[in-house]
């Protein structure tokens, strides 16, 4: 069942794969990789490729990572390249930025992005703005990564989505992977980028396995920053999302397909820069748009997409207003029933599609 689900997710029909294998040349060898392992692989490969790359954060070394994302790395690379820090985000984020200014390529892990708020001055004022302020004299090749958004039962202070906050600032690139391929390719691209990149992972996705193509298994596989991916082709309506909710959109699309409504699902991959071209081309085709995100509605990712759609050519193709499906505008509650009702559910997406299509 899981295999079928992940096949659906990768947009491929199981039968088509089998048929191809029988009638044509051998299909590329797909493997199942969890998002966690994809991230570990990405870091391992980049640590091996470039000696200046190193990882620092709380519990990343001897504990193998709070969420085991850096498992095995300390054993392989040692104290110099995998550094456990004290619980002092502002200090170690600043140290990471300073080391990037002086020629290293740090990966600075925040145990969750909620703690990045303590270091946000270093991310914005010391990292993001420096290339501009120095007129290109001083670069800051750094990656800030960690889980973002809500988890399960961790309550208000540990559940905030920072996509909108970081997506607001020039000088940063902000990425939000969904699949294992996204995770690996985007993290490698982020590490190789000479600019500050905020890499928003999702704790609930770490254990999810995805099919990864042979191409994506290569050590040189990178996913371009700033390009969205059409995960599922469709004709009736466009669903745009990032991170975990891409999966929700695909699940909703599967349900709607049974009713003959073919949804096009776009995985943003990149919050900044935002790939409006892909969204606009899709809307020109489908004339309907629903955005889905876990974060709060006010000044959020969906709000930005709505504004840009309205300002651009796609506005004239809309047959209905854009609908934003978002988290509820409250601090995250603890009780399961409350938490479940604080975030978008698959039924919310289905209802929005039908509302947009006036069904």
């Amino acid at each position: 069942m899981a295999l079928l689900k992940s096949c659906v997710r990768s947009g491929r029909n199981v039968f088509a794969v089998i048929l191809r294998r029988e009638l044509h040349k051998t299909a590329p060898a797909l493997v199942q990789v969890t998002v966690r392992d994809a991230l570990t692989q990405a870091m391992d490969e980049e640590l091996e490729r470039d000696e200046r790359v190193f990882l620092m954060g709380e519990e990343v070394a001897q504990y193998d990572g709070a969420y085991k994302v850096s498992r095995g790395l300390w054993k392989k690379y040692g104290d110099k390249r995998i550094i456990d820090t004290p619980i002092t985000e502002m200090g170690f984020a600043g140290i990471a930025v300073g080391s990037a200014m002086a020629g290293l390529r740090p990966i600075c892990e925040f145990m969750t992005f909620n703690f990045s708020m303590q270091a946000i001055d270093q991310i914005i004022n010391s990292a993001a703005k420096t290339s501009y302020m120095s007129a290109g004299l001083q670069s800051v090749p750094i990656v800030f990564r960690g889980p973002n958004g809500h988890s399960a039962g961790v309550a208000a202070q540990h559940s905030q989505c920072f996509a909108a906050w970081y997506g607001h600032c020039p000088g940063l690139k902000v990425l939000s992977p969904w699949s294992a391929e996204d995770a690996k390719g985007l993290l490698k691209a982020a590490i190789r980028d000479d600019n500050p990149v905020v890499f928003l992972e999702n704790e609930l996705l770490y254990g999810v396995a995805f099919e990864v193509s042979e191409e994506a298994q290569s050590k040189d596989f990178v996913v371009p920053i700033g390009k969205a991916k059409v995960e599922r082709q469709g004709t009736r309506i466009t669903l745009v999302s990032h991170s975990r909710y891409v999966g929700h959109c695909l699940d909703a699309a599967a349900v709607l397909a049974k009713e003959g409504i073919e949804c096009e699902v776009i995985n943003l991959r990149s919050i900044r820069p935002l790939d409006m071209e892909t969204i606009e081309s899709s809307v020109a085709k489908t004339n309907h748009l629903v955005t889905v995100e876990g974060g709060w509605p006010q000044f959020g990712v969906g709000a930005e997409i709505c504004a840009r759609i309205m300002e651009g050519p796609a506005f004239n193709y809309l047959d209905a207003p854009v609908i934003r499906v978002t988290g509820v505008d409250i601090p995250m509650p603890y009780a399961k029933i409350l938490e479940d009702n604080s975030v978008p559910q698959i039924k919310d997406i289905i209802i929005s599609v039908k509302k947009s299509l006036n069904i």
Binding site: G91, S99, A102, S126, S131, A135, D194
Partner: protein, 404 residues
């Protein structure tokens, strides 16, 4: 009558001084004076040893030397550099009052011995980072006065092409110029981490003021620098006032050299360039030997207010400022030492003053006539080494271009 070489030198100097003194009144005497003066240049003291104040220490078994050897060549260099900084800061004051410089402008006249002394104690391959009171350090780290003033006036010839301004000037191994109080300290520790990681024997001088000294992130940086033995010299430029708040009103402990707790510390006379130099050298050697980090407190003073919007006299008396000027001015201290030990003549130093004034005038001339940056470059340098990208302008249909 046998005269010693020493007294011969003194006599010749006196003669030349007298002749020079009358040169302005009598043109004919000036030619002779110049010849006499020229002859005395070769007879100046090549090198002299000076006593410097003993530094207070914290967790150190020894201390920087209390004697400093100064060559004539270095003395002239230090004198000139300090004069450039002094004149450059005063010129910035002037331009600000004429509204040619705008925004923030934090001047460091009075603190010249810190910038020049630190630079004398480290190597050009070492690293340095400081706060927004950065013009002097920008100069000692290699940027010309011309480019500094043009950056202050926001012109394309500025060292950051007019994009940064007073607080954001950069150079090789110089990481600014930082606007957020205290943020530069973890950055400096990070630069030191890179030095250690890359196995160079370089150090990073990480500067902050008495105001910043209470910032939490500094203590975070102390902790990690000490844990990981980073080659970081934490330097507190204590000029007694954080904006309008005196050290007694801001700090439960004003012994900033001890605030590193488990980190050894030195308290240094920041008005004596030789004391600063010896202490910096001592600290750098300690870091290079892998025994870092270390904290250095420089006791210094700024003549100007916190910035150009602060007259600087509501929280301190004019008498206090005047007293420091007359008794502890860093340039005067060096000058007196040089003259008292026959390391240079009054004319020679005056000549340097004239050259420096000229250099600053020319720099100011450039800074006021160079054109402003072109609008086409508004969006450039958002990213480094990146493909060109489109940037939204003030209006939705305005697509501006950004190149790296």
């Amino acid at each position: 009558m046998l005269l010693s070489v020493n007294s011969m030198q003194k006599m010749l100097t006196i003669i030349s001084n007298v002749l020079k003194g009358s040169a302005s009144k009598n043109g004919a005497a000036s030619e002779v004076a110049r010849v006499v003066a020229a002859r005395t240049y070769a007879d100046f003291t090549a090198e002299a040893t000076f006593d410097v104040k003993k530094c207070d220490t914290h967790r150190l078994d020894d201390a920087p030397p209390t004697k400093s050897v100064l060559t004539r060549e270095d003395a002239l260099k230090y004198y000139r550099t300090m004069q450039v900084i002094r004149r450059m800061e005063l010129k910035a004051d002037q331009l600000y009052k004429q509204k040619i410089i705008r925004g923030f402008c934090h001047l460091s006249d009075g603190q010249e011995a810190c910038a020049v002394g630190i630079e004398a104690g480290i190597k050009p391959t070492d690293h340095l980072i400081t706060s927004y009171r950065a013009h002097g350090y920008t100069y000692t780290r290699g940027v010309s006065a011309r480019e500094i003033l043009a950056e202050l006036t926001g012109r394309r010839g500025g060292c950051a092409k007019g994009k940064g301004g007073s607080m954001h000037m950069y150079a090789n191994n110089f990481y600014g110029g930082n606007g957020i109080v205290g943020a530069q300290v973890p950055l400096g520790a990070g630069v030191a981490l890179a030095c250690k990681y890359l196995d160079t024997d370089q150090v990073c001088a990480t500067l902050y003021g008495d105001g910043a000294a209470n910032q939490g992130q500094i203590f975070e940086a102390y902790n990690m620098a000490s844990l990981w033995k980073l080659p970081c010299i934490f330097i507190c430029e204590n000029n007694k006032y954080a904006m309008g708040t005196s050290v007694e009103r801001s700090s439960a402990s004003t012994e900033y050299y001890k605030r590193g707790d488990f980190i050894p510390g030195l308290r240094v006379d920041g008005m004596d360039i030789l004391c600063v130099k010896e202490a910096t050298k001592y600290a750098a050697d300690l870091c290079r030997a892998g025994k870092g980090p270390i904290v250095m407190e420089l006791q210094t003073y700024r003549y100007h207010g916190h910035s150009m919007s602060d007259p600087g006299v509501s929280y301190r008396t004019r008498e206090e400022i005047q007293e420091v000027r007359s008794k502890s001015d860093p340039i005067s201290l060096l000058k007196d030492r040089m003259l008292a030990n026959n390391m240079a003549s009054v004319e020679e130093l005056k000549e340097i003053d004239v050259q420096v004034r000229k250099e600053i005038e020319e720099a100011a001339q450039f800074a006021t006539t160079d054109p402003e940056p072109p609008l086409e470059e508004l969006c450039n340098h958002i990213f480094y080494n990146d493909a060109p990208l489109e940037v939204r302008g003030t209006l939705p249909w305005t697509k501006l271009k950004s190149i790296s």
